[in-house]
Amino acid sequence: MIAALQQHKYLQFTVLLIVFLLLCAIITPSENNWLWRLPPLIKGLPLIINDSVDYIMFEWWLIDVYDPEIEEYEQKPLMNQFTRSISGVILFLIEFVREIMLGGVKTIVTFTGWDWATENQWARWPALPWTVVAGAAAILGYALSGPRLALFVGLAFVYIAVFGQWEPSMETLSFVLIAAPVSVFLGLMLGVWAFRNRVAEMILNPLLNVAQIMPHFSYLIPVMVFFGIGDHAGAIATVIFATPPMVRLTILGLKKLPPEVTEAGMMSGCNNWQLLIKVLIPTARRDILIGVNQVIMQCLAMVVIASLIGAKGLGNDLLIALNQLRIGLALEIGVCIVLIAIVLDRLSLAWANKQTDYFADLSFAQRHKYSLIFGVVFVIGIVLAIIGSFVFKEGFNYLYLIPHNKGITTETFWQAGVDWIWDTFFYTLKSFNEWFIVEVLVPVKTAYLSMPVAATFLLAMGTGFIVGGMRVALYVGGFLLFIALTEWWDRALITAYLMTVAVLISTTIGIVVGTLCAQHPVSTRFILTVCDTFQTFPSFIYLIPVMMLFGVTDTSVLIAIVVYATVPAMRYTVEGLLSVPESLHEAGSMSGVNRLQRWMFIELPMSFPHLALGVNQTVVFALSMVIIGALIGTDDLGQLILKSLSDRAGVGNGLILGLCVAFIGLAIDQILRTWANQRKQALGLD
């Protein structure tokens, strides 16, 4: 019996489940029963964090600062001054880019002061006509890649202008154009540092792990405290969120380089700096570019969230549209965000792949071709704008700056569509919704909430132990303990419940669809393209269509999570199945298995490591979406994080809540990753 137990993991697991159920049955729910709920021993932690932050911000290390207003030196806290200057620089940069496109006075004010600007009303920086910006973007696309990119970029900008989203789009763009390069630069620096220095890597690694699973919101609160509210705060939060994947991919890319490349660089006589800039980074370009792409995607995913702390632009509008249930408008704004994301991604990619021709003997006109074309576009755009000012009435010059929400709109069409769906399917949708909530969601939620804490620990740590031994069990236990000692265990259970249901559905769909599509090369390519496309959408976009159908309910959130989180499950399934060597297929066919058997007994086990990592990604995606779901109303950890946003002293709460979410993810990550690695070794895939 014991021997059998040691050999067969599923037996161990069965025993574990039985004990778990027993515990659930025995332990009585009561406030004072520690086996039911642990006492919130670290309840005070958020307060401590708040106090320390306050101290650092307002009392720590006073320095003398000259104040020109009162012409005297004043004592001010260092940190405060420091964050203030960072904010100032970033804000200036954003305003600068913004005013090139939209016009304004703030850049001028920075150099002259408000008084002067008010006296000299002529000193205004005029906006570029949208035609010129769109033309310039198209020229850039042409210069970097060719007519196809030029056409795409041009059309994207025309769409934005014509649909009356020009101003918010340019606001968003200016903010991304600052945040993205800063993130890329920071990510590269940190990545290189970790690559060169083992201690640095040891410090960065756990930070990156947590940072990647921390919900977006939890960054907002500390940023708000340190940097205030506004575009710069949004940009800083975005940078914090977008940098970790860049660091990751930089390290990954540099580590993959064969030593010969470094040696070739050194033998070419490079010094350290040249080696880094001219050899290592460009050679690791493939992964680093994936990092850049990630940064751009993260930046646009943060557009909406950053609007919560005052970033202007599309995000803010989208949030309002969603709250007012204006689906059509939300959709149009969503398309703008996606377009900006794709445009930036393609342009940066083309830029990185650009090649110079040293041999062509170019005339002046050829060498300055693009500047000249831009000059022409510039003049034509301005002429058009002037003509427009005679044709259109004041403030509605469509050839200069199409006013916000005064363009074409398809909103009525979409609204009609929504109405039609509601009219036609009202009862179907409603009854499905009700059935799903009453029969599925509520029971699962109740079941989660009625788990005694001791049973939860047993189940999680036991699974960890069976999969990876004592080490994993302790890790998992540690993560859970932290959550259990806060006062938010029940909320965490709700988060976990939403996530579990979503992950189950996503994984099932992902594996089934992925397997079906992997059967044929054409469908394989198709599904991979679909995955790519879906991954360029910021997570928010997924909320729009489901709200259209189900209104503001747990069902909507769940469906949005499922759509979002199915993508990695699908991708990893396809890639896993593709990685099964051809010879194994043949061996299987020769031993006379049918298709289903082959899938069950050969392909699935062989691709298990991939699948496990896919599920892992699904968990991460689902968690981040669960939290975003809070924006349209759930009652889990996400909702609390959102609340602490509006609380000046919410830093501690927000941070601890964020850590709770991250730790749920990390606990699952531990188990799945260990499992995947073990299977990999057992299958000899390493």
Binding site: E260, E263, M267, Y358
Partner: protein
């Protein structure tokens, strides 16, 4: 191939008891061992012996080939001399200067002016075109874009890649990529040329072609060369001298003929056992003293010719063939029977016969 360049002057490269041992406590272990390194003992302590007590000299214009099985420390030795890795102990002099005591700056200067290296897997920069790759060492030195590209174009012509200047490495075949690697290593006109198994990653046919190309280049440029290979045939085709390594130790360093004829150790004997003699031996080593009485053929052969290259002609001549030196003076006679013996006789026989 100018062994006559070996003179009594200061050698270009001199290695003095060079050790390279990988591992955390390599240095202290080496100090305690007093210079006598037993690879297996070190391995037990977690150290891997790369190079073990290497001492030798290379003179200007010489082509030294470093041979040995995979893992015998060839690359490591090369990397010690180019200081891509720091030797654990010993001294390495280049033109009399101790490179181990050089500062980073001096080292970079040395590489920028005197060294070039070709790698087994080409190690081209994937984001740069053919000319950009070749111009890279020049640009790193600070030479203007225009001049460096100009010079790179000359190098492109030199390695016969004209017309492919703007290709990326991924658009080239292996042989072409290695041509770029060669051109890059030569761009700064180095005095010392390191080649680490430059042709091992290529198909046999291409390899032959590249060896010919290499010989042609060496004929034009006459550099001092350290060439690593594990292919004996290649070594025989190219070398002035050959160093044979085993487990980090240089077992023997000598001319190809001497290594084949007088293997210093059992390992070297085994290593050279299968080597066809006619590919190694020069006419000199099998000729008889000149005898004016004999009726000789019209054909004359150089004493430095490899037997294989002239065997057919000598056998067809029907009469003994006079052997001449560089000044065309007759220094000996070659009898067909000797050649037949080398070609078909058992190895043991004639090594007994030829060994003085």
């Amino acid at each position: 191939m100018s062994s006559n360049a070996v003179t009594a002057t200061e050698p270009l490269i001199r290695c003095d008891s060079v050790y390279k041992i990988f591992g955390d406590n390599a240095k202290s272990m080496l100090e305690n061992s007093g210079g006598v390194v037993d690879a297996s003992k070190f391995q037990l302590a977690g150290c891997i012996v790369g190079v073990n007590n290497a001492s030798f000299e290379v003179h200007a214009g010489e082509l030294l080939i470093i041979m040995g099985l995979s893992g015998s420390g060839k690359s490591t030795l090369l990397r010690c001399i180019s200081r891509l890795t720091d030797a654990t102990a010993g001294n390495i002099y280049i033109e009399g200067e101790d490179i181990l005591s050089m500062s980073n700056k001096q080292l970079i200067e040395l590489r920028r002016s005197k060294m070039g290296m070709v790698f087994q897997n080409f190690a081209l920069l994937p984001h740069k075109t053919v000319v950009e790759n070749i111009a890279f060492p020049l640009q790193v030195k600070g030479i203007s874009t225009q001049d460096s590209i100009q010079r790179a174009k000359e190098m492109v012509d030199l390695v016969s890649l004209t017309g492919r200047e703007n290709y990326f490495p991924r658009q080239l075949s292996g042989g072409q990529q290695q041509r770029v690697g060669i051109a890059r290593s030569l761009a700064i006109e180095p005095d010392i040329w390191f080649l680490d198994e430059p042709f091992s990653a290529l198909d046999p046919l291409i390899r032959k072609e590249m060896q010919d190309e290499f010989l042609r280049l060496q004929g034009v440029l006459s550099k001092t060369i350290l060439f690593v290979t594990h292919d004996f045939e290649e070594a025989l085709r190219l070398a002035d001298r050959i160093a044979i390594m085993k487990d980090g130790v240089i077992e023997q360093l000598d001319t190809p003929a001497n290594i084949v004829l007088n293997p210093a150790t059992e390992y070297v004997r085994k290593f050279t056992e299968e080597v066809p003699r006619e590919k190694v031996l020069k006419i000199e080593s099998v000729m008889d003293p000149y005898n004016a009485d004999e009726d000789v053929s019209e054909l004359k052969v150089s004493k430095d010719a490899i037997i294989e290259t002239v065997a057919e002609a000598v056998l067809n001549a029907g009469k003994p063939v006079p052997v001449v030196d560089e000044e065309n003076n007759i220094v000996g006679l070659l009898h067909a029977s000797r050649v037949v013996n080398v070609l078909f006789g058992s190895h043991a026989d004639h090594s007994a016969e030829l060994t003085p």
